[in-house]
Structures are given as structure tokens and as C-alpha cells.
Symmetry: C2
Subunit: 201 residues, 2 copies
DNA sequence: ATATGGTGTATGTTTTGTCCTATATTTGGT
DNA sequence: ACCAAATATAGGACAAAACATACACCATAT
């Protein structure tokens, strides 16, 4: 259902074709929190049109194939506004990397550290990309950003915060495994006691 | 594909029935990084069996319906080992809450802060749950945790780290919006310049 | 001439995950 | 005696997403 609202959200700002949504919206503006396949976009537009949440007008273009430009309808606006104003439950967390780590019991320490380091690097890359988007966005929006700009910036900040947290965590894991390997197995001391007390909030 | 490996991972440790996997594995041990519907578990077990990654023996039980106990096969072990030793690309990030925030332009400051605070509370609940799991796990595994225990603990730590980062970020957002509302719109000063310089790693 | 790459829309198939329902028995509580 | 909850497996329907492929046209470079 979220994709529907993403499309309505983009259309609220300006009228767009499926192609626009793909290239100017999902591949750029929202890529850090939602992506969508081209096929998915067109099918969803079709469905939104059938449910009267968007209207379409076809733009004849000289030579090129026609552009179908979609606009959000009254009903679409209302549905979107309602969704935006409602808190939604957290979706189940799904993380294939944590799964890999959880079952890596029989992996050698070296392989395991390799996996962790690779993941760290991947997250570092993502963080760099996010930083790039943030700078670009700051440049575009200038010294007096609109409310829209501020919200967009917040989403980037959120992603960067998560990213940094995961990187730090991975560094801790690598360190722990390093001393684990150095001292041999089952030394116990490596197991940091829970931080509940010192870190309560 | 990840679900296959999750099941193989659990079976590597001990033989289990579909019901065991549901109640003792996915609803408890792995709930923080992967969940699975009961129907999905049974269907996946069926498929894994057809592809010879698991074997099954049926336990007659007096009265009760038969238990189908699954065990991982040689082929299953090899497939799992290979998957565990390979780094996998980051999946696309999908976060409906960030989407909600990104499109919340027309929401009043009050509603927006409400949404952010609710999200904060939801994450706080998740963090409490994670803390509970961590304590319980620490208690069960005792002073000399096995490698398996340490890895499991790491997955919990990773989730908690992400959770905390998101909560802190939400607090920042709420604060920013608070001063935004106080000073009126488009004051510009509220837009924190990018932190790239001070936070480089 | 031909290839490449961008613009633009659309369908088919498969995988993955969710929800609902059905069946059958035992145990424990009121 | 009766009801709810736990134990145990499985199919149908469907939405969401990924993956592949197709059609049609243009501009530009080789």
C-alpha cells in the first residue's frame, strides 16, 4: 500500500508521467527510503486511475510516444491526507545480514570478520551516497529551505543516523571477534554484560 | 531466499517440526531480524524437502496429530555454508515512516510532532523488548556464552543500536519542529547546515 | 549504415509474504 | 460438563515486489 501513497505524494507536488516518477522521483528523491520497479509504477498508476485517485491526460508529442501525465484527484488528495495524518504500526524488521550473522556459528573467525568488514564497507558506501544527496539537496534548496526541503532533509538525516549506528556496531563486532580470536574460544570475558543499567532512557 | 536459509540455519542446530520453527524459532529467537508466517514456514519446508535440502521423518504420536520432524541434509548444509560465507549486497531500504515524513508538507506542526512522537514511542517499545530479550538471553547463556550465544547477542546489539539511533534522530526532529513552530515558517536558521565536515569518518 | 543510449509505456511470470480457513486432539481451568 | 488454549499440519486467495521482455521512436556518435 505504501507505493500508492508515495505516488500520490509525488503527484501532490506536480503532475507527472510514469517515466517522470521513475527517473525524477523513485530513482532520486526517494531512493533512500523507497524504491519501485518501473513495472510496478505503471501498474500502480493504472490501479490508482481505476480507483479514481488520479486522473490522466495524454500529451501528444511530435515524433516521440505519447506521454500520459497523471494528476492527483480530490479523492486521492483526501486519501493521502488521511494516511499522512495517521500513525502506522512498525513493520516487522527484516534484515538478511543479521540472519547471516546469527547463523554464522561454524564460520571461521577470519571469514566472519571478512563478512562483517564487507558489510561495513557497503554501509560506508551508502553513507557516502547519503551525504552526497544531502549536500546536493542543501545546495539546491538554498539558505531558506521550504518546509518540504526540511522534511526531505530529515529523511536523509534519519537514514544517515541509522547507517552510522550500524557502522559503529559492526566495528564493535569486529573488535570483539578480534579479541575473541586472540584469546581462543570460550574465554567468557569477551561477553560484554548487558548495558541496560548504564544506558537506560 | 532468506527464509530458506533461516530454516536451514535453525535445523543445523537441531531437528525441528514446522510448529517448532514457528513457536521456538521465528516467534522468539529471530523475531527481531526475521519473521515468518506459519503458512510460509510449512510451504518452505515442503519446498526444501522437494529440493532435498531437508529430510523428514514422521513421528507417530499417541492421540495427537503426527509430528513431521525435519533434519538438514548434506546438500542443505552445503548450500547454507556457502550462503553464510558469501557477502550479499545491501537490500533496498524501505521505510514507510520516512515516506510519511517526506510527504507531510501540508500537515500542521502539531500533527507532525504527534506523528513523530508516536513513532518515537513505538521505537521505544521495540527497544524495551529488545532489552528484555537481551537480558533473558544473557541469563540463559550464563557467564561463558558459546559462539552461537555471542553471535545471537550481536544481532540484538545491532538492532538496539539502530533503534537508539532512530529514537535520537526523532528527538532531534521534534526539537527542530518545535523551534520551527515557535519562530514561524521559513526562518531558515532552523536548517542545520550539513554535518559532513565535523562528522567525517 | 549501424549501434548505442535515452524517452516512453506496457505485459507476463515468478517469488515472497499475508490473511483466512479447515482439521483434529489434548490439557487445563471454571 | 464445557470452554478455551495449546499442539500440529495444510490449502486457497491475494497483494507486493522482482525480473524479464517487448514495442516504438529519437538523437548522436562511429
Amino acid at each position: 500500500m505504501s507505493l500508492d501513497h508515495a505516488i500520490l505524494g509525488f503527484l501532490r507536488h506536480e503532475d507527472l508521467s510514469g517515466y517522470d516518477l521513475k527517473t525524477r522521483c523513485f530513482e532520486t528523491r526517494s531512493s533512500h527510503f523507497w524504491t519501485a520497479d518501473q513495472a510496478q509504477i505503471y501498474r500502480t498508476l493504472d490501479r490508482l486511475q481505476r480507483s479514481k485517485y488520479v486522473t490522466v491526460r495524454t500529451r501528444r508529442q511530435s515524433g516521440r510516444p505519447d506521454r500520459k501525465v497523471f494528476a492527483i484527484s480530490r479523492a486521492g488528495n483526501e486519501a493521502l491526507a488521511e494516511w499522512l495524518a495517521t500513525p502506522h504500526p512498525l513493520p516487522a524488521h527484516r534484515d538478511p545480514f543479521l540472519m547471516q550473522l546469527a547463523f554464522a556459528e561454524e564460520l571461521s573467525d577470519e571469514s566472519l570478520v571478512g563478512i562483517l568488514a564487507t558489510q561495513r564497507d557497503l554501509l560506508q558506501d551508502r553513507l557516502s551516497t547519503l551525504r552526497g544527496s544531502a549536500s546536493a539537496h542543501a545546495r539546491e534548496s538554498g539558505p531558506r529551505p521550504s518546509r518540504r526541503d526540511i522534511l526531505h532533509r530529515m529523511t536523509l538525516d534519519g537514514c544517515m543516523a541509522e547507517c552510522r549506528a550500524s557502522i559503529d556496531w559492526l566495528d564493535d563486532c569486529i573488535e570483539t571477534l578480534g579479541s575473541f580470536a586472540a584469546q581462543g574460544e570460550s574465554q567468557g570475558a569477551l561477553f560484554r554484560p548487558e548495558t541496560t543499567g548504564g544506558d537506560a532512557r
